[in-house]
Symmetry: C2
Subunit: 151 residues, 2 copies
Amino acid sequence: MEQSTRTAELFRSRGLRCTPQRFAVLDFLLRNPAHPTAEEIFLEINRADPRASRATIYNNLRTLIEAGLVREFAQEKRSARFGAQVEKHHHFICERCGRIEDIDWFEVKGIPRAKDLGPHTVREYELVLRGVCQACSTPRRKKTSKTQRST
Amino acid sequence: MEQSTRTAELFRSRGLRCTPQRFAVLDFLLRNPAHPTAEEIFLEINRADPRASRATIYNNLRTLIEAGLVREFAQEKRSARFGAQVEKHHHFICERCGRIEDIDWFEVKGIPRAKDLGPHTVREYELVLRGVCQACSTPRRKKTSKTQRST
DNA sequence: TTATCTGCAAACGCTTTGCATCGGA
DNA sequence: TCCGATGCAAAGCGTTTGCAGATAA
């Protein structure tokens, strides 16, 4: 109730109303570092206030992401992408067209050891680079960029 | 026509029939390093053979993934996950329960320079570690693992 | 010949949207 | 007061599945 005032002001400073549902979403994410799914967030908030709806949770997640207060993870683009290279490799993702390119494997120095990770066991790792690919950064004619669906 | 024979044998060696559609999927992925979506693969294959259906493309992608010939990217689990930590950080993903944990940011030595990446511009990067989290590797009672939807 | 695979259409799961109502500032 | 936010239900999209007919081996 100090923290909550701060959150309320955070919202206002971005032109957002501080509604109970909106507050609950951010509050829950701040307390829960395990990257819950929208459904989990909904279940939690709906438990406290059974009138809270899925639509509102989803809407607020979008709103908070646009406001830079929340981050979405593991959904680079709408649909899954596939590749025939099955050996270890890193990835480059174009933020404009969604294209994913493989980067030849190389070891990364300084991967956290078990002790730094807590008790988790790491089986594999990869580096994900994000940026703009050549096709998208070249302001030529039509561009080859759009790799999205087109039906 | 040499290459294709090799692919056919690859299939057979894993107990898979070599159908035109299945061949086309793997062939397309081998030729196309840009990690196309299922829809893109469908459009391409359907253009050559208008009878090829989406269902078959999807089925074959699953089959090929199970056979270890194809890899799926950027779809850790079914639904998106969210977090309130908006600063740079790395991620640990539990392969059993899908939980995603933030790892405090640290620079990684040896990120490919522009020259090695071709003409792409890297804006940011992150390390993605995959393994088994403590909760899932501890064979205790009920386990806290299941973080999936539960409706 | 026959188990596997295909195409179709319907089902599914997650997410977004249209719209009437509600309520924070 | 009044515009933004909410809840509901329905639509959207990507993906999976049940089933009858087709086909690789």
